[in-house]
């Protein structure tokens, strides 16, 4: 992605501002000092990265921890070592050996060893109640972890996992102190103590989170900042705070209109960075609730959505953007437009699509279909819901749009107490295993909330997960998508576009197509204020 100071005119004139580039932000020499103030839109439900998947935790907690591997700043998706100095995969890809950096210090001044890595990964792979782990499915192929010496960790695999390097680079795999975990396995839930560039100072719920530079950080000369202050505020307050220079950044993303307002207010001091986003909206049909157990009904609903038309218009008013399949459009794994147009609901002839949808509903005896569409009462979910309701009306389907609070939405999703819902899915990497898991059988993955059972999809999923040859794996991903689109248990609606706007004083931060990585702030520094 390009990172540059832009005026509003420039922003409006260059809609594709966000082409990814490898260059880290290097305007001038990095300077030490200063406190970065940035906004986060939600409160963290826990401090434990192993047990959650929300940015509300990641954006606050990531600066306090390290991981084994990480994505190279400014060069996504290249993977580099974090606390791992180097690593080696056995030729059969069933053993991975990591050599750790020496003298990596925890914030309590103890030295990180392979035992800390083992204890942390063991906690994610096989959590002992009451500990839970959101990462457990990702590590299902790891058979054992060995620590032959204090600086060596060996992972033994049950079978080949093509996505394992991305899994090791996951920003959620924070390394905790084995000694602290031995005292209390749930220590990280309410305590923050890692080897990251910043020490934890305080968290005042509903107000702020403060971190202070850790002078014992293992990367020489880092971090540049004296500290950071993450302030909890609503999205509309963020726009005003950034425009009024009370905060310097927000790392998740704004709508196009919010971007323009901030750019108008900050003028030359605004920096806009745009990219596609590993986050997409889905229409999920509950296979346990008739008539959504009928493939004809599900496919009819997918056929009714004018994704291409919706994309062009909705990207002007919301964070919704590109049309895509099940992997991020533009990523190395994504389908071409021509391939997409072969899927039901992706054809350009909407009159034909809608006629086919009506035919399918008639055939299924669901001509006067009426149902409740569960959705979040938050943007851009509401925008997406309005679009879907309008599209379904055009094939004669009446929809009651039920907008609920986040907790009720999660509860409905978890319990299966919904007919059709607007769902979303985000991951930290484009690796197909990470993203296709959303579409497999419910008994294989809790995130597949359509509650379907489709063994053919499961088999394709497993096959691609083990395929090392990229070209062959890509073909398997295409076959998976074609099958999943035809069965339409869950179908993509639109992908999001990531628009990050910050004060141009913030330097050294890397933009990525996910808001979950590059949040440890180790390379971030503050340029002096313009006079």
């Amino acid at each position: 992605m390009t990172q540059q100071d832009v005026s509003r005119r420039a922003v409006l004139a260059i809609p594709g501002l966000g082409a990814l580039s490898g260059a880290a932000f290097a305007q001038g020499t990095p300077q030490r000092g200063g406190t970065l103030t940035f906004a986060v839109a939600a409160e963290p439900p826990t401090y434990d990265l192993h047990q959650t998947g929300t940015f509300a935790v990641m954006h606050r907690v990531a600066p306090h921890y390290s991981t084994l591997l990480c994505y190279e700043p400014g060069n996504y998706p290249n993977i580099v070592g974090d606390v791992a100095e180097n690593w080696q995969a056995a030729p059969d890809l069933l053993t991975y050996t990591f050599r750790l950096r020496p003298n990596v210090r925890f914030h309590d001044d103890t030295i990180l060893t392979s035992e800390d890595v083992r204890a942390s990964y063991q906690r994610m792979i096989a959590p002992v109640p009451p500990v839970t782990s959101n990462r457990q499915p990702a590590f299902s192929q790891i058979a054992a972890i060995e620590t032959p010496d204090p600086l060596t960790v060996v992972f033994k695999m049950k079978k080949v996992d093509a996505s394992i390097m991305d899994t090791f680079a996951s920003p959620w795999n924070s390394i905790f102190s084995a000694a602290r975990l031995a005292q209390d396995p749930n220590f990280p839930v309410r305590n923050v103590m890692g080897t990251g560039p910043f020490r934890f100072v305080e968290h005042v719920a509903g107000s702020h989170w403060v971190g202070q530079r850790f002078d014992g950080y293992f990367r020489e000369g880092r971090p540049y900042l004296d500290g950071f202050r993450a302030i909890t505020m609503s999205p509309s307050a963020m726009v005003n705070a950034l425009s009024g220079r009370q905060i310097l950044a927000e790392f998740r993303g704004f709508t196009p209109n919010e971007r323009d307002r901030i750019v108008r207010a900050l003028g030359q001091d605004a920096r806009v960075q745009e990219s596609s986003w590993m986050l997409h909206m889905l229409l999920t049909m509950n296979n346990e609730k008739p008539p959504f157990n009928d493939v004809r009904v599900r496919r009819a609903l997918s056929l009714a959505l004018d994704r291409w038309g919706g994309s062009d218009s909705l990207m002007r008013i919301s964070q919704l953007g590109e049309v895509g399949g099940m992997v991020r459009p533009g990523s190395e794994w994504s389908a071409t437009r021509a391939e997409m147009e072969q899927w039901p609901g992706y054809g350009r002839d909407m009159a034909a699509n809608r006629a086919e949808a009506r035919r399918l509903l008639r055939e299924a005896g669901a001509e006067n279909l009426t149902f409740t569409l569960m959705n979040r009462n938050h943007q851009p979910y509401v925008t997406c819901g309005i679009f879907v309701v309008d599209q379904l009306r055009q094939i004669g389907v009446r929809v009651e749009h039920q907008q609920v609070e986040l907790a009720a939405w999660y509860a409905g999703q978890g319990s299966g107490n919904f007919q059709v819902m607007i769902d979303s899915f985000t991951q930290f990497s484009d690796d197909p295993t990470n993203v296709l898991v959303k579409y497999i059988s419910f008994d294989r993955a809790e995130v597949a909330v359509a509650r379907a059972t489709d063994r053919e999809l499961d088999a394709l999923f497993d096959a691609q997960a083990e395929e090392i040859d990229k070209a062959k794996r890509k073909q398997l991903v295409r076959r998976f998508e074609a099958r999943a689109m035809a069965e339409a248990h869950t179908v993509p609606i639109l992908w999001w576009q990531r628009i990050v706007v910050m004060n141009s004083r913030v330097q050294g931060w890397s933009m990525a197509p996910t808001h979950m990585i590059y949040q440890d702030l180790r390379d971030v520094w503050l340029a002096p204020e313009r006079r």
Partner: protein
């Protein structure tokens, strides 16, 4: 002669009878501001009932070709971020506002009225308990109470109307109506015909419904109109907060929320016209309610 006699006697008889004026005309003459309020309410009611015939567009159909259009002949109040005609959505929004406003107010005032009348009738310990309960409920601000109720009850729709929203708005009205009606019912309770009914062996329920309730109808009607305004405002507030009516159903408060807060600088008509509609409706009901009170209350008349 007889014809002359008849002619001279009839007007005299007519003069002896009290002059009967049309009550609507009498109200308009006595309360011109209230009449203006009534006119606006009737206009809203007409818009609500005949929305399909009056509105130029469908309120829910998206027209991406007309996104964020400024007011014009084609769209007199402009369009929103989805290209939906704002005038159309305001006309249909009147239906939402009046339906929820009227039913909430009616349910709240009726339950409150019955509770207040019963409290006055029974007196003693029952009155004490009921009034302390009313005090507790009254201690919550009306919007806070409605927020809690709607958050706890969730949503239950019937024909596109959220029944729980109606109850959420009605519940905070109950104690307020109960307190006012009780004060009117206390004087009715002291009337001899109530004692006579009790002496006649009628049940308490019968006396309350048959003899007391009709005699507190005037304050009940005044409360009803006053709380319709309050209910419209509450519905708009809850919809604005995302707890009321759901998109794409047209509702004035909802029109002020969502994308309006995102586009109010570029498209001020998105908030101007729904805001005006809410203000006008509340103002009209308040004017009408105040005038009705003045007109029906003998103290004010004297």
């Amino acid at each position: 002669m007889s014809a002359v006699t008849t002619a001279t006697t009839l007007p005299a008889a007519a003069l002896d009878r009290p002059r009967r004026r049309n009550p609507v005309l009498a109200f308009i003459v006595a309360q011109p501001l209230g009449a203006a309020g009534l006119f606006v309410i009737l206009a809203m009611g007409t818009a609500a009932v005949f929305a399909e015939m009056i509105a130029p567009y469908d309120p829910e159909t998206i027209d991406f070709a007309a996104m964020l259009e400024a007011p014009s002949w084609a769209h007199p109040f402009g369009t929103d971020a989805f290209g939906r005609d704002i005038l159309t959505r305001i006309i249909y929004g009147a239906r939402t506002a009046l339906t929820i406003g009227f039913f909430s107010s009616f349910i709240g005032c009726t339950l409150g009225g019955l509770l207040g009348t019963a409290s006055a009738y029974f007196g003693g310990l029952a009155d004490l308990i009921i009034q302390r309960f009313v005090d507790v409920i009254l201690s919550f601000p009306i919007i806070v109470l409605a927020l809690v109720v709607v958050a706890v009850m969730g949503k239950t729709s019937l024909a596109g109307i959220d029944l729980n929203l109606i109850f959420a708005i009605a519940i905070p009205i109950v104690p307020r109506a109960a307190r006012v009606v009780r004060s009117a019912a206390l004087s009715v309770r002291a009337m001899p015909y109530i004692d006579a009914a009790r002496a006649g062996g009628y049940s308490s329920g019968y006396i309350i419904l048959r003899h007391m309730a009709p005699n507190v109808l005037a304050p009940f009607l005044i409360l009803l109109t006053a709380y319709v305004a309050q209910a419209i405002l509450l519905e708009a507030s809850l919809s604005f907060l995302g707890l009321g009516v759901s998109e794409p159903k047209p509702a004035w408060g909802l029109m002020l929320a969502g994308d309006s807060s995102n586009f109010y600088q570029e498209a001020p008509w998105m908030i101007l016209f729904p805001g005006l509609a809410i203000s006008l409706a509340v103002f009209a009901f308040n004017l009408f309610g105040d005038s009705l009170r003045d007109w029906l209350d003998p103290k004010f008349n004297s």
